[in-house]
């Protein structure tokens, strides 16, 4: 067997450990279950409408009346996956924070940082390994979600995706992975730098709550419950100077808004003429914020205190 580089050793070891963690397993199972439910709801609703249409079309045809087009064909089949964007924004992001936190806290709580710190690997290798582990776990979760989405589209009657739509679906999964990774990186950064274990988890969760529920209120006048609804979350903000300036200033930081608009666009349910409150296009916004989170996490991990490591009591 060829020897792995230290980065990959750290990544493999960390990913293995984190997948054995009960909290991570619970959240990952919840995320996958919700995606499965989302796929089932889409499949169930579409096939019900399709069956009713087939019966109605047969009746209309027999009675010599004109047969309207199948309503299933009037909407983009991709929009069936829109509930998944809610689950990614909520449970997916939260799972990623916990995964990021656990990837570092397992080493800190085990007290093994001094034993890792004296090995002939640069601090950057440790940082690279942890970020690679996070990416691996997040991509694994998204891959499971992707398999379910593809299976749903393959078994649904009357629904076929064009080549472009398959690409849009892949794009949606990619953007979802980026969105989750961004929160995971925040989890990594605080787990590496925080002195207390509670702060290491509480700060990223507060940040997630702010980005998901508070910023959309300031940029688009969305109340918190509306923010978790992919349809109402796409409302146009009031035309006032406050929302104009809030959107301009806070829009680029409003990650949840960017994700909702990017998802709606990729899954073909974004109403025409509607745009995100940010002046930066949604996908670019997510890429920029994830890159910023990656730099922060890398810096925090490569400067992690290796002398003892454990959190303060």
């Amino acid at each position: 067997m060829s020897e792995l580089s230290p980065n990959w050793l750290i990544a493999r070891q960390s990913a293995r450990f984190v997948l054995r963690e009960r909290t991570v397993a619970l959240l990952a199972t919840l995320f996958v279950t919700l995606v499965l439910i989302s796929a089932w709801l889409g499949w169930s609703a579409t096939s019900t409408v399709d069956r009713i249409y087939v019966d109605a079309a047969a009746f209309l045809k027999a009675s010599g009346q004109p047969v309207p087009t199948n309503p299933v064909l009037e909407i983009s089949p991709l929009s069936l996956m829109r509930n998944m964007s809610v689950y990614v924004a909520l449970i997916g992001a939260l799972s990623a924070i916990v995964i990021g936190n656990r990837l570092v806290s397992i080493d800190r709580k085990a007290g093994v940082l001094p034993l890792i710190g004296i090995r002939p690997l640069g601090r950057s290798a440790y940082a690279d390994g942890k970020i690679a582990a996070l990416l691996g776990v997040v991509l694994g979760l998204i891959a499971i979600a992707g398999v379910m989405a593809v299976a749903t589209f393959l078994v649904l009657p009357s629904v076929t995706l064009s080549g472009g739509q398959w690409l849009q679906l892949a794009g949606f999964l990619g953007v979802s992975a980026l969105y989750m990774t961004c929160f995971g990186l925040v989890g990594l950064a605080f787990a590496a730098r925080a002195k207390s274990e509670t702060v290491a988890l509480l700060v990223p969760v507060t940040l997630w709550l702010t980005l998901t529920f508070i910023l959309p209120q300031l940029t688009a006048n969305l109340n918190p419950t509306a923010a978790i609804n992919p349809i109402s979350a796409l409302a146009t903000p009031p035309d006032t100077s406050f929302f104009h300036w809030a959107g301009w200033l806070l829009g680029p930081l409003s990650l949840a808004d960017a994700y909702k608009f990017a998802s709606a666009n990729l899954l073909d349910y974004l109403p025409q003429g509607m745009a995100s409150p940010s002046f930066i296009p949604p996908v670019a916004n997510i890429v920029l914020l994830t890159a910023a989170a990656a730099c922060t996490a890398w810096r925090a991990l490569s400067r992690i205190e290796m002398t003892q490591g454990d959190y303060d009591a």
Binding site: E3, L4, P6, L9, I10, Q13, F17, R20, I106, A110, G111, V112, P114, L115, I116, G117, I118, R119, P120, L121, G122, M306, T307
Partner: protein, 249 residues
């Protein structure tokens, strides 16, 4: 004359204005078993943390086997092993799994074979498949020593290695340290509180008090001058007049 294995030049450390180590200068020759004595908070662990590249010095520098700890930490890490005072490992993994992971990180070729070899050397092959979570302090200390010598380092740093061990554990560890020094030529740098251990194990000693080096000599010179352990203890206490030890005494 050959270059010293450890060469420390005005090494200093400071924590928020508190001087933990004040311009420590000394050298340790190849093949020595060096005992570093000092009261709690004297700066012994701080010194080890800087020499093992776990912490950066505030000023000054040191070299291990000719490699500078600040300029070339990776080369330093290749030639050192370290056993912390409280050996902590991944509790949910077995001893062998822990050691294989650390062996791979150290770039050991054939890590499984090497781990089996080291566990045999330390007479703890029976612990190989046991989860570390249930280990006693003595067992952890032995696995801690195993992880430190997997890559056959030239210098072994031990931070209070006998702390919390029973007399049998202390004797076993002393014998192991002796074997690593004589059979494998490892230079040993050992922080300790136990004066009785010094004469039995070390070839040279130094005493640190409030971050300052107050004594450094070869053990023959010390025993010739002070005789038995009790006299050595007198020396130790007299060298830390402002310290907590003196207050207790």
């Amino acid at each position: 004359m050959t270059d010293p294995m450890i060469n420390i030049v005005r090494l200093s450390q400071e924590f928020e204005g508190f001087i933990a180590l004040d311009a420590l200068t000394m050298s340790i020759e190849k093949g020595e078993v060096f005992g570093f004595l000092g009261h709690n908070g004297a700066g012994k662990t701080t010194t080890i943390q800087m020499l093992t590249t776990l912490a950066r010095p505030a000023s000054g520098t040191a070299s291990i086997a000719g490699h500078d700890i600040c300029a070339d930490p990776l080369s330093v890490r290749r030639c050192i092993g370290y056993v912390p005072e409280n050996v902590r490992l991944y509790d949910t993994m077995t001893a062998a799994e822990n050691l294989i992971f650390f062996a791979r990180l150290s770039g050991v070729s054939e890590p499984k074979r090497r781990v089996a070899e080291v566990l045999d050397l330390l007479d703890c092959a029976d612990l190989s498949a046991v989860r570390v979570g249930g280990f006693s302090k003595g067992m952890r200390q032995r696995i801690g020593l195993a992880q430190a010598i997997l890559h056959q380092p030239q210098v072994l740093f031990l931070d209070e290695p006998t702390s919390g061990l029973d007399p049998m554990g202390i004797k076993m560890l002393r014998d192991l340290i002796g074997r690593l020094n004589t059979d494998f030529g490892m230079t040993i740098f050992m922080n300790t509180h136990l004066i009785s251990e010094i004469a039995k194990t070390c070839t040279s000693i130094a005493v640190l008090s409030h971050g300052k080096l107050v004594y450094h000599d070869r053990i023959e010179a010390v025993t010739a001058r002070y005789g038995d352990d009790a006299a050595l203890e007198e020396l130790y206490l007299s060298l830390a007049p402002q310290g907590r030890l003196a207050e207790v005494a």
